[in-house]
Structure formats: structure tokens, C-alpha cells
Symmetry: C2
Subunit: 400 residues, 2 copies
């Protein structure tokens, strides 16, 4: 496990924090909060987690422009041009396409010795992939992916997940990096499920006995991706042993993901190709503001993972949670004998069990006579809601 | 109904606000809060309610020294020497004895032309009531209560009650003033009960048919005072028609209450008599700090009302509440179709009924899935408690 200048990481940090209202808000979403009072935000923990594997200059954070400043403040050693701003919310596929195009352009510029000045002069690729405007540059189809400058192993991850065993996490990423640098493989980390969770998507994989060609000792071909199941289905999944939680952590190399976008999401790939060499120049922002909103709203799972044939999964287990729900936060937190959780604040419980109370630091609460509730207060916003009904919070907040 | 320079009022404002925690706190108890968002605190409403009957210079507020400044700020036309500070909490009897002694001293000084200088020279009364130290002053027993300067009709009331029909209230007080100025009577206002309330004491009175001597058309002799009943008992009280709620509003004249203290609470009366003429001088505070803490902790109800023979009640009905409980506030407040109350703030309810939500002004809440709860937030303190369990709040807060 070594830091490698060919390793890149793409952190998705555009979430708007509606599910943890009022603890997280659009003004200050979840990824920027010190969720567990450790002194670090989830974003900071995510970046730090990758530092031993990925040089800081190879990290990209994709976000909304509203959060750019907050990111630069929280991660002082990241440069402004490493924060990619999405001008609109378009789900994960356009987000990843953007980061991929950005990395590809940087690699091309290095591989072919193009200056930024040359890049801003070019007039885009033809439909067939050859470059217009400056005949001296090689056509897109002629790119030599074997050049050392074109080697880029990329990990894509969310900025707001929790990972408890960071060393095991890095071992898994390292193994996946090695795998995707040798194989034209789209790799994902699948979490060994510990309960019939209905809040996650699942990945069914082919176990060694059923696979004729096994490219890696511990990485297996994916059979299917499934959406969030109901409880009955989740219990079947858990029992079968063939299903893993979909962590949304992807590993691939630059060529593999570039080709996957061209094959499975040409309507997205074509848009970024039009101004590819503008990436990293002062025209990047204007170009992105033009094309990004025109991209379809589509997830990487739906757009590529479920369609590609070379998708693999590395079954992993390192204390992962997407922290997607109050329920997941409740599950992860230390509980009193009565199953009550109190975060950031001092809560006193009477005739109360199974509650999670999250207040602003230093605040105090007395909670009597309620069970299994979420009680959260932040900046003049109070939520009292059954834990079992938390999926409605988004709607409540939109009505506020 | 006219304002009369012989009318005095004594406002008790020493409550420490533990029952409405966290809306009211020891730092800012209930009487100083704008409970209904009208722009006036309960204390201000109380003072204003008496203005048409009692000259402002005849109003006394008895309180804890910690609240003196707050009172002077809230009632700018009250003078510092009208705010009497209790150096210790000793229930209502010592509080009323203090205010009575203060008024009596002022009347004596006026009636006998004593200067403040003379008053500070006197060395107290003898046990028999004659004055020591300055033989030129008449003995206590020789006081001519018929002197016009000795005429003082006094109403004693809490600073933190709610009265909706103020004109009817003043009519009742006027009637009682007239009654006590003509009769050696201790008069109280009894509220016509509208529900079997278990949070109030009750007054049983003798109806006209059972009274041989009826001193006033609408004021009746009291048969008994009873403590807060249980529900079964309260229902019997309500049905009988002979019981009224004890409002804690008392009306008497100076001579009557002075004599009642000498007869029924000599251990309190004697203490105040020792330095009576120091009232209104710069030695008042030191004298009170000396004797007040030595007074027994006793209520006026227990010490005098339940023992005196000349106790009368004026049955009244003017939308009164002692606002003693969250329940009473809930009862008085406007409710949604689902029986939810939201004060000072914007609360949105889902699958929720019978709740009362009181937040700091401008705050918002989403409340889902709870019934019949108190949800209150103030200055970093949050309470979630069943309405039916509110009597435990005091204890919860003491444990905090």
C-alpha cells in the first residue's frame, strides 16, 4: 500500500443535507459537520482517509459552487482548481463524467506536452473523435493509453460516509487500485451486510465456485445491482450470502471509465468531449456552466454499473455506513441502557427509550415519556419525529 | 368604581419560575415574560389592571432582590422604594406581613406627622405595643384607626396570573374595597369553577339561604378552605355549587389585616412590629434583612385565612387562571383542529394532537408522531414531557 502519483480520488460533496434536518441544512450540509464531535468534519475525515494513498494534488472535490469556500476552508492544502463546481444538480453520472474529463485532460496535456495556450485554441473534437482546429494535436482515437502519463487509477467516493476501520479501508482501495490498473475492470466495494438493511442498494456477486475465470483472488464479477429492497427481500438477501451492500465507492482506471462513458452514456460523454481540453484552463468554468445543465439527471449506478459487463466487486468489511439516515446514526452511536442516544449535548431521559437527541453543542434537554423518537435542534429549528417515519422529514422540510 | 388614594395594592412577584421550565427560568421567571405575545409581561399586565383603581404610588411589588432591577425596568413609573425585597423565600404570610407593615408605617407617619428622622430614632415597641425611646409618640395600642390617614384598603394579588375580563375584575375589586372599608372583613375572590380542576384549592361558602346575617348582597361568609382535591373530590365540589376556586386575591383594610396578624400569626407580626417605623426610611432594608429570614415559612391561607372567623368570599367570574401549569396554559390557548397549541413560534404538526409547543420567538418546529406533549425550548434548554406528567418537571430541573 503506497502513495502513487497515478492514484486519483474524486470526492463527491454536493449533497444538500435535507435528510438530517435540522442538524444539517442546505446552508451547512452533513459533509461539513463534525458529526461525532471528533473535531473533524465528515469531509475532512474523508480526505484524510485517502492521504496515505493519493497525493493531495490528485484529489478532486466535486460540489456545488455554494460550498466551494467552505471546502477550501476545511481543506487548506487543496487548491481552488481541485474543487470542481457543478452548476446544477444532475445526480452522480454527470458529476463523475466531469471529474473524469478533468483528470483525462490533465493527463493528455502532460502526455502530449500541450500548453494551456494551445488547449484554449482548440475547437473541440469531431463526432468521430478527431480534433478540430489544430491539426498538430493527435485525434482522440489515437490517444496512446499506454503512455505513463495516461495511467490514472481513480477512486470515487462520497464525502459524507463513515468508515471506522480506516486501515482496512485503505487495504481494500489499494487492492482495487492494483486490480483496475491491470484489468479493464469497473470495481466497486461491496460491504458485507450485518443486518437486513432496507436503506441500501445491494450487489449480488458470483462466488468463486461459480466463476470460470477469476481475475483476482478476492474480487468477483457482479451478477446484479438491486435497488433498496423491502424487509422481506432484505432478509432473503442477508441469508443467501451472495449479496453485499452497495457502498457507492468505485475504483477504475482512466481508460476504462472513459470508454464506459462513451459506450453507455454517450449523451453525457459527448458533452464533456466537446471542450475536453479546456479543463484546467481559465475557460473550464464557462464551458461547464454551458454543458453541465444540459446533461441528463442520471446516477452512475443506473447509467453504467447496471449496464457494463466488466463490473467487479471487492467484498469488504471496515465498519462502513453511508450515514444516510437518522436511523443509521442511531445504530452507530453509543446508547444508554434504555437505548437512548445523546449527541453533542446533555440529555436527561425519564420513561423514555430508543430516542436519539442531537442538539447544538452545550445545550441541555429533558426528555420524558417518549420512545423511539428523533429530537434534533439546530439554529432555531426543532424536529420531533418518530425514528420510523424519518423518510418523511424531507417532505416536512420542503413544506416549511 | 373610582381611583382612591386610600386604595393600595400589593403585587407578589417573587416566584422563581420552575414550573414552566425552560420557558421560564430562575433568571427570568414567568411574571416577567410576555406569555401571550401581547407585548406586555404578566407583571406589566397586572400593574396596568390596577391602575384605574389604585394610584401608582400606592402600589407595592414584593419580590426577590434579584428581580428588583427587572421590575424597575418593566414598570418605569414605579419608584425604587415601592419594590420591597424579601431576603429569603418564606411563602406568602411573611411577604404580606412585610407589605402590611410597610403600608402601616407610611400611614402612621402621615397620621401622626412623624418625620423620617424621628422614626429612625425610635427603639421599637414594647411587648404591650407602647413605643420605646420616644415617649412623645402615641403607643401602638393608642393608634386611632379612624383617622383618615389610617384608612387603607389593600388588595393582594399575584403578579403572574391571567385575567381576561379586566373590567369585570375591577368591578369585583371595587365591590370588595367598599365591603372591607365598611366591615372588619377579610375578603377573597372566589372563582366560579368551570371544570373539576385538581390544580387549585377550593373555597366552600355559605349561600344566602343558610346565612342569617348577610353583610353584603353578593359577598358570603366562607365555610372552609380546602387544599387541591383529587379528581373525584373536584367533581363533587363542582357539582355541589358551594365551592369556588381559591384565586389567592385578597382584599382587606389595614386595621383588619394588622389585627389578624397580631392574633393568628404573632410570631410574624411581632418581628415586623420591632422596627415598624423604620419602614420607608433608609434603615428599612437592614431591618428586613435581619428579621425576614427568621420568619416561619408559612402561607397566608394556612396562617390566617383558614383560622380567621371574619373571612368572606365574593364569587366572581372574569376569565381567571393562575397560569400555574403548562396544562392551564394549554387550556387557555387557541388550538388547532387537532388540539395543538403553538406559542411564539411556528410549529408544523403531522400525526400529532394535543401538544403544546413553546419556542423562542422566530423559531420553527416540525413535530411528528406525538400526542399530548409539552415541547418547550428556550436559551439552549429543551423540554419534551407528557402534559400529564408536568408536575415532575420541577424535580427534573432540580436534577439537571
Amino acid at each position: 500500500m503506497t502513495k502513487n502519483e497515478n492514484n486519483y480520488c474524486v470526492i463527491m460533496a454536493g449533497g444538500i443535507g435535507s435528510r438530517f434536518w435540522p442538524y444539517s441544512t442546505e446552508k451547512r450540509p452533513k459533509q461539513f459537520l463534525d458529526f461525532f464531535g471528533t473535531g473533524k468534519s465528515l469531509l475532512q475525515m474523508t480526505i484524510d482517509r485517502f492521504r496515505p494513498l493519493v497525493p493531495i494534488e490528485n484529489m478532486l472535490v466535486v460540489t456545488n459552487v455554494a460550498y466551494k469556500q467552505m471546502i477550501l476552508e476545511q481543506i487548506p492544502d487543496i487548491k481552488e482548481n481541485q474543487v470542481l463546481c457543478e452548476p446544477a444538480r444532475r445526480n452522480t453520472a454527470p458529476c463523475i463524467a466531469y471529474a473524469t474529463a478533468h483528470i483525462r485532460a490533465l493527463c493528455l496535456q502532460r502526455a502530449y506536452g500541450w500548453t494551456k495556450d494551445e488547449c484554449t485554441k482548440y475547437e473541440g473534437y469531431t463526432k468521430e473523435g478527431s480534433m478540430k482546429g489544430n491539426a498538430s494535436l493527435p485525434s482522440y482515437l489515437d490517444i496512446d493509453w499506454k503512455k505513463p502519463e495516461m495511467q490514472a487509477n481513480i477512486v470515487v467516493a462520497a464525502s459524507d460516509h463513515l468508515i471506522l476501520e480506516e486501515e482496512k479501508f485503505r487495504e481494500a482501495i489499494s487492492k482495487a487500485f492494483a486490480f483496475v490498473s491491470e484489468n479493464k475492470a469497473i470495481c466497486t466495494l461491496g460491504m458485507q451486510p450485518t443486518r437486513p438493511e432496507t436503506g441500501y442498494g445491494y450487489i449480488q456477486y458470483l462466488k468463486p465456485s461459480t466463476v470460470s475465470r477469476q481475475p483476482s483472488e478476492s474480487i468477483y464479477p457482479v451478477k446484479t445491482f438491486t435497488e433498496k429492497p423491502n424487509l422481506e427481500m432484505a432478509e432473503v438477501f442477508l441469508k443467501s450470502g451472495d449479496f453485499l451492500w452497495n457502498s457507492g465507492i468505485f475504483i477504475w482506471n482512466l481508460q476504462t471509465i472513459s470508454e464506459a462513458f462513451r459506450v453507455y452514456l454517450p449523451e453525457v460523454a459527448d458533452k464533456f468531449r466537446e471542450g475536453e481540453l479546456l479543463m484546467g484552463t481559465d475557460q473550464e468554468e464557462a464551458f461547464i456552466e454551458d454543458i453541465f445543465p444540459k446533461c441528463p439527471n442520471i446516477s452512475i449506478d443506473y447509467g453504467i454499473m447496471e449496464k457494463a459487463e466488466n463490473v467487479f466487486v471487492l467484498p469488504s468489511s471496515f465498519g462502513w455506513s453511508d450515514l444516510g439516515t437518522w436511523g443509521s446514526l442511531y445504530e452507530l452511536s453509543e446508547k444508554s441502557a434504555e437505548g437512548n442516544v445523546s449527541l453533542h449535548s446533555e440529555a436527561h431521559f425519564y420513561d423514555a427509550k430508543g430516542n436519539i437527541v442531537v442538539l447544538e453543542k452545550g445545550k441541555k434537554a429533558i426528555v420524558q415519556g417518549v420512545d423511539d423518537m428523533i429530537i434534533a435542534e439546530q439554529e432555531g429549528r426543532l424536529l420531533v419525529c418518530k425514528r420510523a417515519e424519518e423518510q418523511r422529514i424531507k417532505q416536512f422540510v420542503s413544506e416549511l
